[in-house]
């Protein structure tokens, strides 16, 4: 019995170790490659270090094309923070209202929002581009910010959380004390819902930071682009021609742009796990 148990323990460990090599090796390759010179990328072992040129690469990334990489990072931050903040607040208000008020059409409203979660985002990008180009919003910050402010999934999470965590008694107590409905939401409900708010903010932040099709459609101006679009633009030059961006710079730029999200995921594990669970139990 114990022999069989320890055998299965080692077998499972072996399988999981091999699997984690599959998931980690590419990331390891990215990290190692960001320390290499352009020439060393094409020779030797891809998974091991050569001449250590990380600092030089980072310097080159931020110097390339007049230091536009700073601008791209700032743009990504603006889109992600701005879009996620607004979408979280209006989703919280909508979710709270759908959970705590009874009115005709409530289920219908909620179901149509839920159905929108299933609409593939890229399918909206093309028509949004057509609409925005008619009202001359294309090639402005708003072209990316506005669509980022709507999160049906956020409303879904907010409704579930408000339904289970904001007691009706607190709302009634607020009313007896003479507080207005909005004041009750802003001072009491929002505070109780804060773990859900962090989750919604996090998911929306990630969705905006990683979005590619929408900004690549909307923004032709280099200086408005988020970091994802910028790096792919560099990569598209394929290292050919005198003004082309060398591979080592594209690779280092890609590695740097991943840091904010990885840090966010590692530091806020509690919240994204609760967000995923909310999806799986329903």
């Amino acid at each position: 019995m114990t022999i069989r148990q320890s055998l299965s323990r080692w077998l499972i460990l072996g399988v999981l170790l091999i699997t984690s090599v599959y998931f980690l090796a590419p990331v390891w390759w990215l990290l190692v490659s960001s320390t290499k010179t352009n020439a060393d990328l094409f020779s030797g072992n891809g998974f091991w270090f050569a001449r250590f040129a990380l600092f030089d690469n980072v310097h080159q990334v931020f110097a390339q094309q007049g230091g536009i990489y700073w601008q791209w990072l700032a743009n990504s931050a603006l889109y992600a923070v701005g879009g996620a903040t607004v979408s979280t607040l209006i989703a919280a208000l909508a979710g709270y209202t759908l959970a705590k008020y009874r009115f005709r059409g409530r289920e219908l409203t909620f179901n149509s929002i839920l159905a929108a979660v299933l609409v593939p985002q890229p399918l909206l990008a093309v028509p949004l581009y057509l609409m925005f180009s008619q009202i001359h919003l294309v090639n402005t910050y708003w072209a990316v910010l506005l669509p980022s402010m709507v999160s049906p999934f956020g409303v879904y999470l907010a409704r579930i959380y408000a339904g289970s965590s904001v007691p009706d008694e607190i709302i009634e107590a607020g009313r007896i004390d003479g507080a207005g409905e909005f004041r009750i939401f802003a001072t009491i409900a929002l505070r109780v819902m804060s773990p859900a708010l962090v989750t919604i903010f996090l998911f929306q932040f990630v969705a905006i930071w990683t979005n590619y099709l929408l900004p690549v459609l909307m923004l032709a101006n280099d200086h408005l682009q988020p970091v994802t679009v910028g790096i792919v633009g560099w990569q598209a030059q394929r290292g050919i021609g005198p003004s082309a961006v060398p591979f080592n710079i594209v690779i280092t730029a890609a590695a740097i742009s991943a840091i904010p999200l990885v840090v966010l995921f590692l530091s806020l594990q509690r919240f994204w796990r609760s967000g995923l669970t909310a999806g799986s139990t329903k």
Binding site: L24, R104, S112, P122, L130, L146, E181, V262, T277, S280
Partner: protein
């Protein structure tokens, strides 16, 4: 058709919220509180869907400059006929369908297996493995796609280099290898995410169930197959639906892979093809292609839901 329903649904509920302020004291804030979400939702979700359907029924008249409505002429379903008659577009639909049919079940089986292993009592270093498997999802999709494009690029690929040492010629960007390469990129990026959803569901199963089954002489494998898998069905259904929708919107991976594999056509996937049509200023064709793809994604994901529902009723 669902679009119209959805639009009407949202419109009606908003109207009732606003139309009955006096019935209850709290009737008023409902409309006010929902408006900040519902107005942009209608403008940025429902309107684009309606607008796409509308655009898909028109075509540009050649004599106009193409920015204003009068230059458009009603085209009926001819854009659809053109899209479906286009061998490239049909090929892109078929390709995505095939990638999905192979990749989605493989990835979900992989994710389910990993989740079951992580859930097993004897497993060591669970926290480390959970994070290792999830890491690809924490990288922006574009970064993952760029990374993989270099990992398979001729001249740069360490995988091809290793194959060369073994005396093999391996080009992962050749036409025959494009679909497996993209399938691998998707599997690498999303297995951990799906695993975590299934794992969370597994953790919600009461321990007594497995203990009772062990006492009855059920093996660990038997417990996994007969007890745990049926109980995490909702999580499996959810991950399948999300994966189907994800496959329908395949764009980043082929578009970025194109940078190292110029042989990859710009009509490789339907979204890629629609974007290509936008670039060629053929908005009406892009709209028709988008609607076809949306309908296909809808039929497949809801068809799957119906299928498992019927099965569930029979059980």
């Amino acid at each position: 058709m669902t679009t119209a329903l959805r639009e009407r649904a949202a419109g009606r509920s908003k109207a009732t919220g606003a139309a009955r302020p006096g019935r209850r004291r709290r009737g008023r804030p409902v409309a006010l509180f929902l408006a900040p979400f519902l107005v942009p939702f209608a403008a940025l979700y429902l309107a684009p869907i309606g607008y796409t359907v509308y655009q898909s029924l028109f075509r540009m008249h050649r004599s106009g400059l193409g920015l204003t409505a009068p230059t458009q002429v009603f085209a009926g379903l001819s854009n659809y006929a053109t899209a479906l008659g286009d061998a490239d577009f049909r090929g892109s639909l078929l390709r995505v369908l095939l990638i999905g049919l192979v990749q989605v079940p493989l990835m979900l089986l992989f994710a389910l297996g990993l989740a079951l292993l992580l859930d097993a009592k004897t497993t060591l270093f669970k926290r480390f493995f959970r994070l290792a498997f999830f890491l690809p999802y924490a990288l922006p999709g574009v970064v993952g796609a760029i990374m993989w494009s270099y990992l398979v690029a001729p001249g740069l690929s360490p995988i091809s280099a290793a194959a060369r040492h073994l005396g093999l010629h391996l080009d992962l960007t050749s036409n025959a290898m494009l679909a497996p390469t993209i399938g691998n990129m998707l599997t690498w990026g999303w297995t951990g995410y799906n695993m975590l959803i299934i794992y969370s569901a597994l953790q919600a199963i009461p321990a007594e169930l497995s203990e009772a089954a062990t006492m009855d002489g059920c093996s660990a494998f038997g417990i996994a197959w007969r007890i745990k898998v049926p109980l995490v069905r909702p999580a499996l259904v959810l991950t399948t639906v999300f994966s189907i929708i994800g496959t329908a919107q395949l764009y980043n991976e082929p578009a970025i892979l194109h940078n190292v594999a110029p042989n990859l056509p710009s009509t490789y996937t339907p979204i890629y093809a629609a974007y290509d049509a936008v670039n060629a200023n053929n908005f009406n064709a892009a709209a028709a292609e988008s609607v076809i793809l949306a309908l296909l994604a809808f039929v497949l994901s809801f068809g799957f839901l119906k299928l498992v529902q019927r099965k569930g009723a029979a059980l």
